[in-house]
Structures are given as C-alpha cells and as structure tokens.
C-alpha cells in the first residue's frame, strides 16, 4: 500500500534558490496524509530524494549532508516550574511558549553539530538547540538563550512525549546522491498540517533546500467526537450524560433478576 502510494506520488521538486547553486533537491514522501484512527499507535513515514545537478551538466560535489526538519502545527504551551512552599510542591512560575511547533523532528545523516559550524546552524535555525521557540516576555515575544532553564525543560518534556526529537542517524545516503529519511510519527502526534524543510549541506555550507508538507488528520469516529466536543459542547455534554443514564438503566435491567 505504502509502496503503491509512493509510486503514485507526485515528485516534489524545488528549483535552485540561488544562481550559484550547482545542486537541486528532488524529494518524495511515502504518504502525505497520516490518518489517526481508533487503532492508531504511531507510524513511520519515509522521505526519499536525490541530489540532482543544476543545470543538468553541472558537476556534483559529494559528500553531502542532509538535514530534514519536520514541524507540526503551531500551538501555545505553558511551561511551569514547581517550588517547595510550606512543605508542598507548588507551581510558582511559568513561561508561555507562543506559536511553537507541537511536533518537531530534526533528522540528519550525522549529528548536526558535525555538519556545519555553530553560527551557520544558528543562522539557518538548524537543530533543536537553534530552532526559534518564542516566549512571551512581558508584552513582547522573543527567544531566550539556548540554556534558559524553561526552554531546556520545554524541549526535554516534549522529547519525553516523543514530540520533539533530534536524530543524527535517521537520514541514510543510499548512494552519494540518493537519500532516505525516516520520519517517526508517535501515537500522540497532534493533528494538523506539518511543514517539512529539507536542507542539503556540502563542506559545512548550505547548497540547496526544498520543502514539502504532510497532514495528520483524525478520521471517522475520532474526528466526529473531537469536533462535537469542541463545537457543540453543551449538546455533546448532554449526549454523554444521556449515554450514562442509558447504560445505568440497561445495567439495572440486565442484573435486576436476583
């Protein structure tokens, strides 16, 4: 099925961004749509691609490095810190992370800090440490230093949920110019549209980039329930309460004979 979808898939191509580029990326995703059903326990998507010369006669300069950054739908989260007050642990301060990806995976063929210099990565926002995670500071929005305790805790907690990850082995070069990236989609993956940024490095410099997208949707019953709960709260609550009464009544019918 997946292979079939792969064969049918439109090849997403990106033109050369800069005239100086001698490389062009052609990528294709095994599936542009992940359906979350009642039996969804997570799955793995595969991104295939090749490095093409541009123009066709230009020479290629392997070895290449590849970084794939997958960012899920944006959301706002609060990171709270507990402190001991009068013997018990209480949330005393919190930071709001505004419009940050609900899912973030940085996948590469080797650890990102070996691919390029620190300032290059920082400028291109490559790697979990360099990704922009804006916090609300007073009335402003801004990212803090990377070892800000709230930022670190935020990334760590998201990582424990399987939602934020960085892997230096998820991309494999099958030949010097053909690559394959495995995108893990955990069971708790948020629904919405995901952006996939593919960046090609050679000798520590960015030489080509392209992007594609995928969508995670709840289907069938799950979608129906989630929509109803959000859009028709009162009706949904009344229906749930009715369900409770029906089950209670039914049980008393079944077990009445004793």
């Amino acid at each position: 099925m997946r292979r079939f979808a792969l064969m049918l898939m439109l090849v997403v191509a990106a033109g050369a961004a800069r005239p100086a580029c001698a490389e062009r990326l052609v990528v294709s995703l095994s599936n542009h749509r992940v359906a979350v059903t009642s039996s969804f326990v997570g799955e793995e998507l595969v991104l295939f691609g090749t490095v093409e010369p541009d123009p066709a006669t230009a020479p290629l300069h392997p070895p290449y490095d590849l970084v794939v950054t997958v960012a899920g739908p944006r959301q706002t989260l609060r990171t709270r810190r507990k402190q001991r007050i009068l013997g018990i642990w209480v949330n005393v301060d919190a930071r709001e992370f505004v419009g940050v990806p609900s899912y973030l995976a940085v996948l590469s063929n080797r650890p990102v800090n070996e691919i390029a210099k620190e300032d290059t990565l920082r400028r291109l926002q490559v790697g979990l440490d360099n990704f922009l995670l804006p916090q609300r500071i007073g009335s402003d929005l801004g990212d803090t230093v990377r070892d800000d305790p709230f930022r670190r805790a935020f990334v760590r907690l998201q990582n424990q949920q399987g939602l934020y990850r960085e892997s230096g082995t998820a991309v494999t070069f099958l030949t010097p110019t053909v690559f394959r990236a495995a995108i893990p989609m955990p069971a708790a993956v948020p629904t919405g549209s995901y952006g996939i940024e593919v960046e090609l490095f050679a000798g520590g410099m960015l030489v080509a980039r392209t992007n594609t997208a995928l969508e995670v949707i709840k289907t069938g019953f799950e979608q129906y329930v989630a929509d109803a709960a959000r859009d028709y709260g009162l009706l949904y609550g009344a229906a749930t309460a009715m369900m409770a009464l029906l089950i209670g009544w039914f049980a008393s019918l079944v077990f009445a004979r004793d």
Partner: protein
C-alpha cells in the same frame, strides 16, 4: 487492544481501562458509593491529564449511581423530597465548582487544588470512619448494644429556622443545613471529580439524622443529578469530557458494581465501614505523599491553545 481517546488525545489499552472500571465498580457496589475518589486518581496515574480525568469521571459516576438509584427506587428506599432540596443547592455548588475549576486551570494551580482537596478531605473523612467503626466493633465485642439513633436528640442544627418536614425520612429539619450540605457536595464534586457519596452519607446521618433506610438511595439520586449536570457543564465550558473513555469506564463500572453489591451484602456494617475508611485514608495519604515528596520533574507543560 489499543484505542485512541479523542479528547484525552492519547491511546490507551481498552482492557486496562475496562479492568479499572470493573475494579472500581466492584468497590463502589460493595460500599454503596460512586467510586470517583478512586477512579480519578487511577486515570491520572495512567497518564490522562487531571482535568480530563475529573471531567470524564463525572459521567461515569452518573451511570453507576443511576443503576443504584433505580434499585433503591424499586424498594422505595429513597426520599425524593430531600434529594430535590439538596439538589437545588447542589446545582449552585456544581456551577461554582466548574467556574473555580476553569479559573484555577488558567492560573496553573488546578493540579495543586485537586491534590490538596483530596488530601484534606480523604484523610479527615477516612480517619473519622476508621475511628467510628473501630469503636463500634469494640463495643460489639464487649457485648454492648450498638448506639442507636435517639429519636428525641436534637443539636443546634435543629434550632435553625425554615423548618421542613421530609415524610419518607421521618425528619423535621431546617432548610439551611440541607442547602449547605447540598452546596458542599456539588462543589467538591465538580472540583475533585467525585460524586461525594462517601461524604454525603455520613453528613446526612450525623447532621440531619436521616435514617439508614433512605440515606443511600437519597444520596444516589443526588449524586446522579449533580454528576450528570457536572458532565454537561464541564463539556460546555472546558470541552474536556472524553466520551470514549467515559463509555469504557461506564460499562466496566456498572458490571463490577453488581458483583460488589452482592459481596457487600454478606459483610457486617462496621467491618464494611472500617474497610472503606482504610481505603479512603490510604488514597488521601497517597496524594499527600505526592505533594510533599520532591517530584521527579519540577517542570510541567500545559497546553494553552492551538494556534
């Protein structure tokens, strides 16, 4: 078999949740309580957020108390007039509770509030039950008769105005303590995700001197209505009721309750109260432990909104 919960947004094992429903249902049937104070912590323990757990458990309790109420109705062992009186205040209590729940969630203090309420309420009520049942047991050992309800005994509660007569329970009391009890039950129910049966029954017996014949049935009617309205209110304001989770819990709960009720009828009253007291106290201590011991992670996340 895993199933994805649409509101809690995580997959759970159906048999695990069904088993929890059965176990809590068994206990609730045995003691004649809703079992919310056990179910909510269990759900939190398997990774469901406290807010979703509290909101969802209310519908589960509505189901199990409806089953109970029907069987007491058949035996005519409930006082509808008293239940309605408690209820009029209970609804106000529930609405206040749901409002406070929403406010505390915005202030990041909801989990603390839930924890503190559990500790205070459960340890106090648990130790009172243990003390009372041990004393009754001792008295029974020494061959003394159990303290019976003294028909003429009055407390200051009986001196309050707005007196009402409840025929089925054969009591004549002021409306003020009835309203106060109703409000408290509705309020803690909405905050803690409990039906409050284990609180309501002793309160009705000790404060209003409701006879044991009608007390459990009456408490179940009240629980049923407050929990059904808490379900609706939580769904309408916080959108946190997970119908799929609720359904699995309900099915397990009502089946377990039937077997528990049979077991409960075989045991002596004092023994049953002692066991329930120990259970309530133990759950309270568990919550106290969590508040006092340094958490593994000082940081936690809360989803504010999807942009």
């Amino acid at each position: 078999m895993q199933i994805y919960l649409p509101i809690a947004d995580l997959p759970v094992n159906v048999f695990l949740v069904l088993g929890m429903g059965l176990a809590v249902g068994y206990i609730s049937g045995m003691f004649g309580i809703g079992g919310g104070f056990l179910m909510t912590p269990l759900l939190i323990f398997i990774g469901i957020s406290p807010a979703v757990a509290v909101a969802t458990v209310s519908s589960h309790i509505a189901a199990s108390s409806f089953t109970g109420a029907i069987s007491y109705w058949r035996r005519r062992a409930l006082d509808i007039a008293l239940a309605m009186m408690l209820l009029s205040a209970g609804i106000v209590g529930t609405a206040t509770g749901v409002w406070l729940f929403t406010e505390l969630r915005a202030l990041d203090q909801l989990d603390l509030m839930i924890g503190l309420s559990y500790v205070t309420l459960l340890t106090v009520v648990g130790s009172m039950m243990i003390y009372e049942s041990v004393r009754a047991e001792m008295r029974a050992r020494q061959g003394m008769p159990a303290t019976l309800r003294r028909p003429g005994s009055h407390t200051w509660l009986h001196g309050l105005p707005f007196k009402l007569r409840f025929k089925r329970s054969k009591i004549y009391v002021s409306a003020i303590p009835v309203w106060a009890i109703g409000f408290i039950i509705g309020f803690v129910g909405a905050i803690m995700g409990i039906g409050g049966g284990f609180l309501l029954v002793p309160m009705l017996i000790y404060f209003l001197r409701v006879p044991t014949a009608t007390v459990i049935g009456t408490s179940m009617v009240l629980t049923l209505i407050t929990m059904a309205s808490a379900t609706v209110m939580h769904a309408a304001t916080n959108h946190l009721v997970d119908a799929v989770l609720a359904l699995i819990l309900m099915v397990g709960g009502v089946i377990g309750a039937q077997f528990g009720a049979r077991m409960g009828q075989k045991m002596r009253g004092e023994r049953l109260r002692l066991l329930l007291g120990l259970l309530v106290f133990a759950v309270g201590c568990r919550f106290a432990y969590e508040l006092v011991v340094k958490p593994d992670d000082l940081f936690s996340l809360r989803h504010v909104r999807t942009d």
